[in-house]
Symmetry: C2
Subunit: 337 residues, 2 copies
DNA sequence: AAAACCTGTCGAAGCGCTTCGACAGCCTAT
DNA sequence: ATAGGCTGTCGAAGCGCTTCGACAGGTTTT
């Protein structure tokens, strides 16, 4: 391995000069800079990460905690992870992948050891056990998700309550009176994942205002689970004409089942999905949907973190406004003409 | 931050003794060990990662390069990534997430800087430009995927050729004579991704032996793309009764289209999918499928890497044997009774 | 013309850890 | 009893980098 000292010798300057060329923290004459850069190239020099971290006490690494579970929408997670990795590189950071499995210990380990300069946490529960640690770790962090108490924290998330409200509004405007919500898997609610509960709240309170009836049913993904869930819903509320689907893996099964029962979309029933645009446009019916802005969230999280590391920014909570795109799966309620 | 020296002082021993307690590289008396461990706990000590890496020239980090593109099966990628992260932690390693975007530069950067001790590379092309670098980097690496020339490399992959063959065999045994293959997106073939081409080869050569006719069509995911593809296939080979689907996001659309055309599965046509079991069991018809053993591959990659870092293992190429599970989507060809 | 200030470079200290050789004390073999 | 071996501990060197203070030489200010 080539070291700084070797580069310095090769270029006929001192080690500190090479360091300053690399970091740009002191002015260097153009000729010296060029000579050093030339040597770096010729020798194929790469600064040693460990030495850097030790000397500067910054590792240029951002830790990303992703959920281990696969009961939630995987492509969204992946999209966030990739956006985080890409954006981080743009700012000179690498990304360390942590699974939620280790829980609070991972936070302690990573911040305690100086392995990472900062941390992005996904799959946040309303009263997450990692929060107290994050508050006092001294290292910047961003949550993708919104816990109950956000004091001393930075959060980004889609405004799920507004998302739920938006879905209801759309259906209400089309004249639907009875709406069913196909939710995430029961486990997601049991562990009080923020987004699932907030969506429901937003949905219900707007429904109350608009005078709609809402029936919420959690649903595991897949055809069979959806079949059971749908049967129960139609049994309890035969007049249901509007569906809001939050669990992506229930979308296609639902469409198949409705078709099979001779209920036409959007003539007889309307379906609004909460999912990435890619899913909405690739489904067997082009879905009216509210998009989950996974990329935006990942990018924002990194940019906030980098700004905070540079002292350019403070804690805050950002909720992205949802946007509903009307496609072919929603239309006027049958009785409404 | 608490340092080794502070722990040593607190425990009344020298710094090196604390280090040896931590690493276990020299024998330490039980009483001393306990005293040191006590101090570590009381002070909440975490070894500094940078200092460790510098002194030992090992970072305890494994780099994982995942594809940036989303034209390939995302859940499989995610499953591998999670298996890698989980297994790595079991062995005391952390995982650095790299996107394929940076290409060979990422390999140079990460190995040159000593950021990672070893590397796992996914989405390998037959003649991947990262291979020469990996061969001479001096750091262990494992490819998940199989390039054309494996000399000096370690690879794990599903035996895709055998997978293709297995699908054909199954359909042949059921009496099907005309088989269509719904492949991955065209881009996947254009960049000569190993698995896609090998599957096709295996499929075709077994088909030749068994006297089947095979029609291969790449297919972007989604309903519309599938509709176009299916129409073309049935136009060209109206007698097609067997389908092999490699692109997971074409599975459900295909089933929907067949249903819509009044072709019953498995009475009129049989469908064999190459996909994770979860997808196969959650589809609207329980799919006969060959599973992609994502977890096994991730786990194996890490274990091989760790063994190689410990000098316990050499380069080799491991192909996992495919297993076909018969479910409800395949049956005797119609003409065969 | 002296004082004050830049600019560009260097030397040295030190970041927190691992690891090597040394050695004190004790045990075993002769 | 003495040489040789273990065991458990210590001190010091050094990993490759960043960063601080110093300073030489040139430029500007008064």
């Amino acid at each position: 391995m080539v070291t700084l000292a070797e580069v310095a010798q090769h270029a006929g300057v001192s080690a500190s000069t090479v360091s300053y060329v690399l970091s740009g923290k002191r002015s260097i004459s153009a000729t010296t800079r060029q000579r050093v850069e030339q040597s770096i190239r010729e020798l194929g020099y790469h600064p040693n990460a460990g030495a850097r971290a030790l000397a500067s006490s910054r590792s240029a690494i951002i830790a990303l905690m992703i959920p281990l579970r696969t009961d939630m929408y995987v492509p969204v997670m992946m999209e966030i992870a990739i956006a985080v990795a890409t954006t981080a590189r743009l700012h000179g950071y690498d990304v360390l992948l942590l699974t939620g499995e280790e829980g609070p210990d991972a936070v302690r380990r990573v911040t305690g050891s100086g392995l990472a300069d900062a941390m992005i946490v996904m799959d946040v529960e309303l009263d997450d056990e990692r929060l107290p640690l994050l508050r006092r770790t001294g290292r910047p962090s961003v949550l993708i998700g919104l816990p109950s108490d956000t004091t001393g924290l930075t959060c980004v998330d889609l405004d799920w309550a507004a998302t739920g409200a938006l879905c209801v509004e759309h259906l209400a405007a089309l004249g639907h009176r009875d709406v069913a919500v196909i939710g995430e898997a029961p486990a997601v609610y049991e562990r009080h994942t923020g987004f699932a509960e907030r969506t429901l709240d937003g949905l219900r309170s707007r429904a109350r205002e608009a005078g709609l009836r809402v029936l919420h049913r959690p649903c595991e993904g897949g055809y069979d689970a959806m079949a059971v869930t749908l049967a129960r819903i139609l049994d309890e509320r035969p007049g249901t004409t509007g569906f809001v689907v939050q669990n992506e893996s229930a979308v296609e099964p639902l469409l198949a089942l409705l078709r099979q029962q001779g209920r036409a979309v959007p003539e007889d029933v309307s379906v609004v999905a909460i999912c990435p645009d890619q899913v909405a446009t690739q489904a067997s019916v082009r879905l009216t949907s509210v998009a989950v802005p996974a990329q935006d969230m990942g990018r924002y999280a990194v940019e906030h973190l980098v700004a905070k590391l540079d002292g350019r920014r403070e804690d805050d909570v950002v909720l992205l406004a949802p946007e509903l795109t009307v496609r072919a799966s929603s239309g006027p309620a049958p009785s409404a003409g």
